[in-house]
């Protein structure tokens, strides 16, 4: 296990380097200079101060020098200062926003697995029955519905027509004057719609995946053996089949991280939720280069960590992986 972990950790190093190179390239290969934006906004900036700005951000140096400096600062978790008027360090901004997005996505992820596993199992055990057909319809709709449109529909229905739920932000006005329980309930109401949308977004894919995985396992010889031994269908499905069908879902957990974070741009900007997605959206709109680069690197590294955790969990659950056998070439 220790060997496996070490190998996995070593493999992350080239990926980390690659992530920084791509992030750097995305920003610097595009035409236009970061400083131009700041300068264009302010007509009083002289050519001299423009040079000073360029020097400050090291834009007068060759690209590889800029890259090396940037990475050496990254290692010390220094992401530079935001270009926005408040000029705060990027890391402080991200630290403030990250928990909101991570918490929403964690809750959504738990709901998603909690719903997708029973849906997938039921569809697989009642294959080609009406239940299976209805879940298939639901799954297809889930793939085809644009998330932002779903946000609009829910806002219209529950916010505008029925007036049951607030449609923007995390808190009501003046929430601080109320007790703790009131505040929690208030936040819950604000988060109900965004969390539902985030859950729905990947529920379809996961339940389809669970169905496929379950169908495959149910066709294996050891399931026939278990049935032949006279075990009840319940034991066969939940003790013998489900365990093995769940294994691949662990990997999916790691792979779903970038999709979840990417999707947060949409619901966070529609529901005005101050999370990473909204921060990133505002950052690109304002051409806040240090912020954009910082968010890109951090989300990619989060994905890497998510994959690592999923692989480790998989190895812990499946001895074939950690002993290096049964590995696909």
């Amino acid at each position: 296990m220790v060997n496996y972990l070490l190998k996995r950790l070593l493999m992350m190093i080239p990926l980390l380097v690659g992530i920084t190179i791509i992030t750097f390239a995305v920003i610097h290969v595009t035409p236009g200079e970061p400083v131009e934006m700041q300068v264009a906004m302010n007509p009083r900036v002289s050519a001299e101060s423009r040079e000073r700005l360029r020097k400050f951000y090291e834009l007068d140096k060759p690209l590889h020098v800029q890259y090396c400096h940037w990475v050496s600062r990254l290692v010390r978790l220094d992401f530079g200062r935001s270009f926005s008027p408040d000029g705060r360090p990027v890391i402080a901004k991200i630290r403030e926003r990250l928990p909101v997005t991570v918490n929403i996505n964690l809750i959504a992820l738990i709901l998603e697995f909690g719903l997708a596993i029973p849906i997938g199992v039921m569809a697989a055990t009642h294959r080609d029955g009406p239940l299976d057909r209805w879940t298939t319809v639901f799954v297809f709709l889930g793939f085809a519905t644009p998330l932002f449109w779903l946000c609009l529909l829910l806002m219209y229905l529950f916010g505008v027509k029925l007036g049951w739920l607030p449609i923007s932000g995390l808190h009501s006005l003046g929430y601080r004057s109320h007790g703790l329980w009131w505040q929690l309930l208030d936040m819950g109401k604000h988060l109900l719609l965004p969390i539902s949308v985030a859950t729905f977004g990947s529920l379809a894919g996961l339940s389809r995946y669970m169905r496929g995985s379950m169908v495959e396992v149910l066709g294996q010889d050891y399931i026939t053996t278990a049935r032949a031994k006279g075990l009840s269908e319940r034991t066969v499905v939940y003790r013998h089949a489900l365990r093995n069908a769940l294994l691949p879902a662990i990997t999916l957990l790691g792979l779903s991280v970038p999709g979840l974070i990417g999707g947060s741009v949409i619901f966070e900007s529609i529901f005005s939720i101050p999370g990473m997605g909204q921060l990133f959206y505002q950052g690109v709109m304002a051409r806040d280069y240090p912020l954009v680069m910082g968010v890109l690197v951090i989300t990619a590294v989060l994905t890497l960590i998510g994959n690592l955790l999923a692989d480790v969990a998989y190895a812990a659950a499946d001895p074939r992986i950690r002993h290096g056998r049964g590995e696909t070439p």
Partner: protein, 284 residues
């Protein structure tokens, strides 16, 4: 080959035809294309003709899907928007499939360090939330229809690459490839004449499903105001004003959203139908 069984193509077609959902999907896709091509014939209005006297009107016989905040006919804008949305979906996935296929073929056929290098690159690209990458590149460059297609394509090829590589790895070992090598075929000829045609089925399925995803991505971008630049209509940017007038004008957000969902669903059904028709063992 016996007459009753027919060629492989006939067999696939017969299986596809047997799937009602897949046929319905194909018909809807076809209808959307017809609407898009025949746009000027279908509607008397122009996509950008303003009408200050008929602002935010609900659906009526004159304006089937109502009018927007500057008096433009929503149905007309949707029909013209179909041109953009369908083109973007198609071209973007064309680019992604092309890059992915080439990378997958090279990676799977040559193996060794070329394979490791390319697959690590795929791993790295998979680490970024695709939507973040697209957002960053598109706002730093110019949001234009061409750029959107390019960027969706450049960030969406990794899945195809992995798929093609896996196919090539298994095809490479078959006897007819060994035979081709034995009679002295060049690498290029083996890759493109003998391996690629046999790997195309899954790629076709993947690409069809990809069109559905690309249409969703384009509409999300346009909705956020960084996709197809107004006044050119796209289903996504009509929805932008739909959000703005959410409280007064349900027709502004209902119809374009339905159009996106139905189109994307249809492509999805076609893709699934193709998958079942090409390989009935899958997913059964």
């Amino acid at each position: 080959m016996s007459r009753s069984q027919g060629t492989l193509r006939e067999l696939v077609w017969r299986r596809y035809r047997g799937n009602r959902f897949a046929v319905a999907g194909a018909l809807v896709v076809l209808a959307m294309f017809l609407l898009a091509i025949l746009a000027p014939v279908i509607t008397p209005y122009g996509p950008n003709s303003l009408d200050a006297y008929h602002v935010l009107l609900p659906p009526s016989p004159a304006h089937w899907f109502g009018t927007d905040e500057v008096g433009r006919d929503v149905f007309t804008r949707m029909v013209y928007g179909a041109r953009i949305s369908l083109t973007v979906g198609f071209v973007a996935i064309g680019i992604a499939t092309l890059i992915g296929t080439v990378v997958g073929l090279v990676s799977g056929y040559y193996g060794g360090w070329v394979d490791s290098l390319l697959m690590r690159f795929v791993d790295i690209m998979f680490c970024f939330p695709t939507f973040f990458l697209i957002l960053a590149v598109i706002t730093l460059r110019e949001p234009s229809i061409l750029n959107i297609m390019l960027i969706i394509g450049l960030t969406g090829w990794m899945g195809v690459a992995r798929l093609v590589r896996a196919e090539v790895l298994s095809i490479r070992e078959r006897d007819y490839v060994t035979a081709a090598r034995a009679i002295g075929c060049s690498d290029l000829r083996i890759i493109f004449r003998h391996i690629m045609p046999n790997a195309l089925g899954p790629v076709l399925v993947y690409a069809t499903l990809g069109v559905s995803a690309a249409i969703l991505t384009e509409s999300s971008l346009s909705f956020l105001g960084i996709g197809v630049p107004p006044p050119t209509p796209s289903w996504g940017n009509i929805l932008t004003s739909g959000k703005e007038f959410l409280e007064f004008a349900w027709w502004l957000f209902l119809f374009p959203g339905l159009a996106i969902t139905v189109t994307s669903l249809s492509y999805y059904l076609v893709g699934e139908g193709l998958r079942d028709a090409l390989d009935p063992r899958l997913n059964r």
